[in-house]
């Protein structure tokens, strides 16, 4: 295993992260793009392949997110996502200044029963079930983007910190899960310093910055899942005890959590990637129609099968792989812990699936860049770029490589976790192999 390398030792990196302005500048650019995408979706051309919202959100942003940001930077996207910006301004009454001592709004704690990612599981599934329409219909994309922005603003006025990001964002849920595999982490340097630290400004805020918007005490951080890399603790820590480290991939999975919400997130993501590959890339017209015609009988059947695969078939088969039933509590714990083996596989499924439609549709990005409003402009001379799949020769090898490395990665992870759980890793590896073969068949 690689030793950790502290990136924040580099004075340039450190000052870039500690200073609020670089991040704020990116936030503002992202906010512009985000709102522009909402407007483009709502009033631009309904032709998805030429609408900025579809092209830049579901092709360009998605490609960057799943192929680069998540695998290499974990929650790197959350660090610059503009969704919380307006809500936080409203919540704090300031963009940079310390918040008032007396909260401006309700400032409630998030309900204890919902302090998990089940709502994120549900919000992701809600989008997933409508994805055929969402991914191709600009005004639906515009409404969903606007809905997320307003939900974040609304929740900021009722609850403290970034309640939307932490508990509701459909994207944040899976980014968090997969960020455990990323070679980047934010951690404290010396635990003792945190234990003796007065006032815990990293959590409670100070004149130098805000208390952790993600409701995390950095002193207790052991995995990336819920750290949004907002960098506030780097700014507030009076002891310079926060570091951004370069580490080996999937270091967090060495000690996986045993949470059922996270376990099901792994099944949701793995299952959705397989189903999407079948629906969006497969040759079955009836399946595509069923997924697209929301509200029809065929769609309800599709939705039932979708949920059945994710919530019943895949977890049940996995349960068989980890069975050694003594009591329910121990079984649930083992089931949840061992399901973390599926995290690298799920991520690589998404990489393989995304490679396909991103490379197929990337030329739309060039066309849309020159004519973002669909008004016949040709700003960069690329408006008339004809649609053409890119890098077709490397697509199949690239996807195969992604799936095989995902399989090996998950197999290695399962060997470690199974050993600790005192079960055989072979059934889990067979499970991973079978799902990989299904995915290979669907993609190739």
């Amino acid at each position: 295993m690689l030793k950790r390398i502290e990136l924040t030792r580099n004075p340039f990196i450190k000052s870039a992260l500690k200073n609020r302005y670089p991040q704020l500048a990116v936030f503002i650019v992202m906010l512009f793009g985000y709102i522009f995408a909402i407007l483009a979706g709502l009033i631009g051309t309904p032709v998805g392949s030429h609408n900025f919202s579809i092209v830049f959100v579901w092709i360009a942003w998605w490609a960057i997110l799943i192929l680069v940001a998540v695998p290499f930077f974990g929650r790197g996207w959350c660090a610059v996502c503009p969704i919380p910006l307006p809500g936080e301004w409203l919540q704090r009454g300031a963009v940079l200044n310390p918040p008032d001592k007396k909260p401006k709004w309700l400032n409630r704690r998030w309900p204890r029963a919902l302090r998990n990612i089940w709502l994120q599981n549900i919000s992701f599934l809600l989008l997933a079930l409508f994805s055929s329409v969402l991914l191709t219909t600009p005004n639906i994309t515009g409404i969903v983007l606007a809905g997320m922005l307003f939900a974040a603003i609304g929740l900021s006025t009722v609850f403290e910190r970034r309640a939307f990001c932490r508990y509701l964002c459909p994207v944040g849920g899976f980014i968090g899960l997969y960020s455990q595999t990323a070679p980047i982490e934010l951690r404290i340097k010396n635990k003792q310093v945190c234990v003796t630290c007065d006032g815990k400004p990293c959590y409670n805020g100070s004149a130098n910055g805000y208390g952790c918007p993600w409701d995390i005490f950095p002193g207790g951080l052991t995995k990336n899942t819920y750290c949004g890399l907002c960098m506030e603790c780097i700014r507030t820590c009076p002891h310079d005890n926060i570091a951004i480290n370069l580490r080996s991939f999937s270091a967090d999975l060495a000690k996986p959590s045993a949470r059922m919400d996270e376990a099901f997130k792994a099944f949701i993501m793995l299952g959705s990637a397989i189903i999407y590959a079948g629906v969006l890339l497969g040759p079955w017209g009836a399946l595509k129609d069923a997924a697209y015609n929301v509200g029809t009988g065929a769609w309800f059947i599709y939705a039932a099968v979708f949920l059945g695969i994710i919530f019943i078939i895949m977890p049940s088969l996995f349960a068989l792989c980890v069975s050694r039933f003594e009591n329910l509590k121990a079984f649930k714990r083992r089931f949840a812990t061992l399901s973390s083996s599926l995290i690298p596989l799920g991520l690589m499924f998404w990489v393989a699936f995304s490679l396909s439609f991103v490379l197929t549709n990337a030329t739309y990005i060039l066309a849309s860049l020159s004519d973002p409003l669909g008004l016949g402009w040709n700003l960069f001379g690329t408006a008339n770029t004809t649609w053409q799949p890119m890098l077709t020769s490397i697509l199949a090898p690239g996807q195969t490589l992604a799936l095989v490395s995902g399989l090996i990665w998950s197999a290695r992870t399962s060997q470690k976790t199974a050993r600790e759980a005192q079960v055989s890793s072979i059934p889990i590896i067979v499970y991973c192999l079978t799902t990989t073969l299904v995915m290979l068949w669907l993609l190739l």
């Binding site: 704020l24 008004l375 016949g376």
Partner: protein
């Protein structure tokens, strides 16, 4: 408030307002004419305004499939129809030299209701006095264009103008070759008029075929064929057999599709007419066909073409329709 805080707030507000304002500004400043399948609204807007002699600059975009644009009663516009591609913008400049209400229409077979995709351009100005519309021949003749008009008898083989020409050289047929006679009589009526001649029925039909051909030119037939292929074949079929790509869809849409039109409660949906149906075609005079094309099928799927084709184009088209019956040179 400290300056950085103020500046940050201004920048965030500017980004927000810019992202909302810029699209709204440009979209309202650069209006587009949207083309959608008729079921989803057709042209939007569907009424345009222009002035005689002043160029009319139009910017089209399609919101679904490929559509085409052409303006009726302007010969070149039909031939040089432009495509309007989904999500792209097509610029068109038109100049009208006569005032009036022009019809623009889709030239791509975009869907079963393709023919309903029409709009109007109201051209005002006094460059020349408005010309009164000529009364169509079928109106002058008082023809009931909806009445059955089958020929009582038909030839056993396809009549040939080539054979007919040889036979006609020995006959006195000048009264039948005049344009007036051709336009106002059906082939069967001419066949009846040829009764006095000492010819077999088959030979008479050959002569009818020759006389019909002599009332047209190869240029007119080519023009008619082009118009047919662009505008009629979608329903009536490339070979005139009433089996175009939309024929089945129209049949499937049935009466309900037609009754959705206001006031069309009792209209029957009809399948596209088969121009290879000998009885029907040989019993139809060019004037009758002119009426059907000009007026359309009144609630059936047959559109009115009077606002789109010029009179000359309609006669060319009719000449071409008879070529499904007769063997021409």
């Amino acid at each position: 408030m400290k300056r950085p805080e103020l500046l940050s707030r201004i920048l965030i507000l500017a980004a927000t307002l810019g992202a909302v304002g810029a699209p709204l500004f440009f979209w309202t400043r650069i209006p587009l004419i949207h083309a959608q399948m008729a079921e989803d609204g057709g042209w939007s807007p569907d009424v345009l305004y222009a002035e005689v002699g002043k160029p009319l600059h139009l910017r089209f975009t399609s919101d679904d499939v490929v559509h085409g644009f052409a303006v009726g009663q302007m010969d070149t516009q039909i031939v040089d129809a432009v495509d309007i591609e989904p999500g792209k913008v097509t610029d068109i400049e038109l100049t009208f030299d006569k005032p009036g209400i022009y019809t623009f229409f889709c030239t791509r077979w975009c869907g079963v209701n393709h023919w309903r995709m029409r709009g109007t351009i109201e051209v005002t100005g006094s460059a020349s006095d408005p010309q009164p519309a000529t009364v169509p021949l079928y109106v002058t003749l008082g023809l009931d264009i909806d009445a059955p008009h089958d020929a009582p008898s038909i030839p056993s083989d396809q009549p040939s103008a080539i054979r007919g020409q040889r036979l006609a050289s020995n006959l006195e047929i000048s009264e039948f070759t005049a344009t007036d006679f051709y336009q106002t009589n059906s082939p069967y009526q001419l066949f009846e008029n040829l009764n006095s001649a000492a010819l077999s029925d088959s030979e008479k039909w050959d002569v009818v075929s020759y006389i019909w051909e002599s009332n047209t030119t190869s240029k007119a037939l080519t023009g008619g064929a082009q118009l047919y292929s662009q505008n009629c074949a979608a329903c009536h079929g490339e070979n005139g057999a009433g089996d175009g790509v939309f024929a089945d869809d129209l049949k499937a849409a049935g009466e309900s599709s037609m009754q959705s039109m206001a006031g069309a409660d009792n209209l029957m949906m009809q399948t596209p007419v088969d121009f290879t149906d000998t009885k029907r075609m040989l019993g139809a005079s060019p004037a009758l066909l002119q009426g059907k094309i000009l007026r359309g099928g009144m609630g059936t799927g047959m559109p009115m073409w009077g606002s789109i084709f010029t009179e000359e184009q309609i006669w060319d088209l009719i000449a071409y329709l008879f070529s499904f019956q007769f063997e021409y040179h």
